[in-house]
């Protein structure tokens, strides 16, 4: 029987083999290796033995979950909270801007091709450069963000009309917001990430918009549907498969985000703070700076399981859209 299968499918199997081997070497083996590492006491004292380090079972997992004085627990809950907020805001912001941008450049106008190309610019900038650039841009006095918002646009004066409170020093000068320290740090990492990734969402939505037949809109217009009604009852539902893909991509990319935060706060030399630290920088510190590879691997494995559940929930939510799309 086996011989029959081999002779019947020899060519297809040979074609599939490189992909299967690649999958094994690049995904399955590292995952298994990570799981094994998570059950070893692999730290600086035992690094020389590497995989012969003492087997400790689920001890590393217990440390993370139940040992409040464990090193990895220091700042872990801040990092989890920040990662959840960061993922939600970045994914949401990317989708909103992506749809907005796609609707704008989907229309016919002179120079549309140039506009589409220019809008892609932030996407082609490497994320570590984005982190460094925005690190300068967010500075309180010298940074261009505060200079634009407060020195040029006088946002404080504009918003004081609607009751927003701003702090002033003893001689009446505005104390501009600090973006790189304190609670604002979260926005300092969310906004550059949205800025970098929204063109990707725009491209995806543009592809989605192009696939919607014009006849549907024409029919809706003949039935008297307004533009906003057309958007909410035609465009948005038909873009759900695209939204599903961007949500998935956003969830995974943002939970595993590292570069922008690391580069913005001292190129790995500093600490992003209670409101800027994310899970990946946290795990990196524990693994590579604290030399606790076992605990770091346990943390990564737990995150992988959580992400599998999240992806499962995502699939259940969008299953119909994906099969219809």
């Amino acid at each position: 029987m086996r011989r029959d299968v081999w002779s019947a499918y020899k060519v297809p199997l040979l074609f599939v083999a490189p992909a299967v081997l690649g999958l094994l070497f690049l995904h399955v083996f590292p995952i298994v290796q990570g799981l094994v590492l998570s059950m070893l006491e692999s730290n600086k004292s035992t690094i020389e033995q590497y995989l012969h380090a003492p087997f400790v079972g689920f001890e590393n997992y217990k440390q993370i979950l139940f040992s409040s004085d464990s090193q990895i627990r220091q700042g872990l809950f801040d990092a989890i909270r920040n990662t959840i907020l960061y993922t939600v805001f970045v994914t949401g912001g990317t989708i909103l801007l992506g749809i907005g941008g796609a609707l704008l450049v989907h229309r016919n106008f002179k120079g549309r091709a140039v506009a589409r190309t220019l809008l892609l610019f932030s996407w082609i900038i490497p994320s570590y450069v984005v982190g460094m650039l925005w690190g300068f841009m967010w500075q309180q006095e010298e940074g261009i963000v505060n200079q634009l918002l407060f020195d040029r646009m006088h946002l404080d004066v504009m918003t004081s009309w609607i009751g927003v409170h701003w702090d002033y020093d003893a001689i009446g000068n505005l104390i501009k917001p600090r973006w790189l320290t304190g609670e604002n740090t979260l926005w300092a990492i969310v906004i550059p990430t949205v800025w970098r990734f929204w063109p990707f969402a725009m491209v995806m939505f543009l592809a989605g918009l192009s696939s919607i037949p014009k006849e549907i809109y024409e029919a809706a217009a003949m039935d008297g549907a307004k533009k906003s009604e057309q958007f909410f009852h035609i465009t948005l539902p038909l873009l759900r498969p695209v939204i599903a893909m961007i949500v998935l991509q956003g969830l995974i990319t943002n939970v595993y985000s590292f570069n922008i935060v690391s580069m913005m706060f001292g190129n790995g030399a500093g600490f992003p703070g209670k409101y800027g630290d994310l899970l990946m920088p946290n795990i990196f510190r524990n693994s590579f700076q604290m030399w606790n590879f076992g605990v770091g691997a346990a943390m990564s494995s737990m995150l992988m399981v959580v992400m599998m559940v999240v992806v499962m929930l995502w699939y259940r939510r969008f299953r119909e859209d994906l099969s219809n799309g």
């Binding site: 004292s45 020389e48 700042g75 006095e141 706060f265």
Partner: protein
């Protein structure tokens, strides 16, 4: 079909075999060295430094690889784990103990004795070369650096202050108050009293060290088996240093910058005082076309002084730097030792290194040369080296410094920047320092638990050095 494959494989093998270049010209031994970017032009300047060695040892070829600071630690530890790496490697002085603990370095006791013993080198350099828990010297100090207080002579002259009169914390505060209140304008710039960076920088701990030590405190206790950062003396030192922000001498906005950014404020003539490594003087002295700051107001008017002493008369300064070690798995140990000796034990080479990099020699004899004897700034550096100390040379210091202290002080800087003008979060700062103390002690305890006998070795080291 199969024979076709074999033919192709044979041709490829033949091609690969004969296209490979030999390691070094015939008869030469190739010694590889990994260094960090120590010079303005790291590769070229390092090649220049070893040019003399190549002439003296025509049978030895030296291959220099410059590692990036960001990835060096990972590469070195990977090499140590994989038992495959260079013959010689540069180690930051705080890394030596950790790499020694991994068993990746050769003992250099006999080499050191052959050179003339430990007394040849500055004491602070030797402290990091012989990790506390190790019986052997596992690296030799290559260069050290200290962090003097750079100041503007013209600004002090305008304020009517003699630099020599700034000796204590009180005198320093008084001068800073004067500058802060009068806001002198020099060459179109309003001068701020001083600047230091905040949470986005490795240097935070180095900058804070002299104030903690000066106040009689420390990071770890004398045996390095327990934290000492929560002691009242340590807290007093930290609060004095942070108080420079509270009093407005260092503007809060500097706390979100890194060293390079605040340093450029000094270069551009906006700061009266600035703490930096000795390498800064190289950039201030160099013309712009060589990457220096040229004839800027700061470059024309700067000088260096020792950071002031605390009210109880203490003054101890942080001494950093780098050591050179021989990799245990090196196949050319004898040649590597020759190169090592050339770099650390030759005054002419030490001088050449110092002139090119701005770092300071570890070989004491070098300081007798006119380059050091006749320059007042370098005399300040030398005095600081003599009164300096490194961080404790224990394998777990790196994690304490780069992860625990960096994170905790990051939190403290966040507390300060989140405070409204006129308020000061002193209670919260002290709480954070005490939490740091608990965390460090707990971490050290974990390390001691994993290394039986380590505590005893550290305690006996302390007894031997009292």
């Amino acid at each position: 079909m199969l024979s076709g494959f074999l033919r192709i494989a044979f041709c490829l093998g033949f091609f690969l075999l004969f296209s490979c270049a030999p390691d070094a010209p015939t008869g030469q031994t190739k010694v590889s060295i990994w260094v960090l970017p120590n010079f303005p032009d790291p590769q070229r300047d390092m090649e220049k430094l070893i040019k003399g060695f190549k002439l003296e040892h025509p049978g030895i070829e030296v291959e220099v690889t410059v590692l990036d600071w960001g990835s060096a630690w990972t590469k070195i530890t990977t090499a140590a784990t994989a038992k495959s790496g260079p013959d010689i490697l540069q180690l930051g002085s705080t890394w030596t103990a950790a790499v020694t603990e991994m068993g990746a370095l050769v003992s250099l006791d006999s080499v050191l004795q052959g050179m003339g013993g430990e007394d040849l080198f500055v004491e602070a350099g030797m402290e990091s070369a012989r990790p506390r828990a190790s019986d052997s010297v596992t690296s030799l100090p290559w260069f050290v650096d200290v962090r003097p207080l750079f100041y503007r002579k013209d600004v002090l002259a305008k304020m009517g202050v003699q630099p020599d009169s700034i000796r204590t914390w009180g005198q320093f505060s008084k001068v800073l108050t004067g500058i802060h209140n009068s806001k002198p304008v020099v060459e179109g710039n309003v001068i701020q009293a001083m600047g230091y960076p905040g949470k986005n920088d490795w240097n935070v701990i180095h900058n804070m060290a002299p104030w903690i030590w000066g106040a009689g405190g420390d990071f770890l206790d004398s045996t390095a088996t327990k934290s000492a950062i929560g002691r009242p003396e340590s807290i007093r030192g930290i609060l004095f240093y942070l108080g420079l922000v509270r009093q407005g001498f260092n503007e809060v906005r500097n706390l979100e910058k890194n060293t390079a950014q605040v340093s450029s404020d000094f270069d551009e003539g906006r700061l009266a005082f600035w703490l930096d490594a000795t390498t800064k003087s190289i950039y201030l002295d160099r013309p712009q076309f060589l990457g220096g700051t040229g004839k800027s107001a700061a470059a024309r008017n700067y000088a260096c002084m020792m950071p002031p002493t605390s009210p109880n008369g203490n003054s101890r300064y942080f001494v950093g730097g780098s050591n050179l070690a021989i990799f245990r798995f090196s196949k050319h140990k004898a040649e590597a030792m020759k190169l090592l000796e050339y770099l650390v034990a030759r005054p002419d080479v030490q001088l050449q290194m110092s002139r090119a990099s701005g770092f300071l020699p570890t070989l004491i004899q070098t300081y007798d040369m006119p380059y050091f004897r006749e320059n007042p700034n370098r005399q300040v550096f030398l005095r600081m080296v003599r009164q300096g100390q490194p961080y404790p040379s224990v394998h777990y210091w790196g994690e304490i410094e780069t992860t625990i202290l960096t994170r905790r002080f990051g939190n403290i800087f966040d507390l300060i920047t989140a405070t409204k003008p006129g308020e000061w979060p002193e209670t919260k700062i002290i709480e954070e320092i005490q939490a740091t103390d608990v965390e460090i002690s707990h971490y050290i305890q974990q390390q001691l638990d994993q290394a039986p006998g380590l505590r005893d070795r550290l305690v006996s080291w302390r007894r031997g050095h009292q």
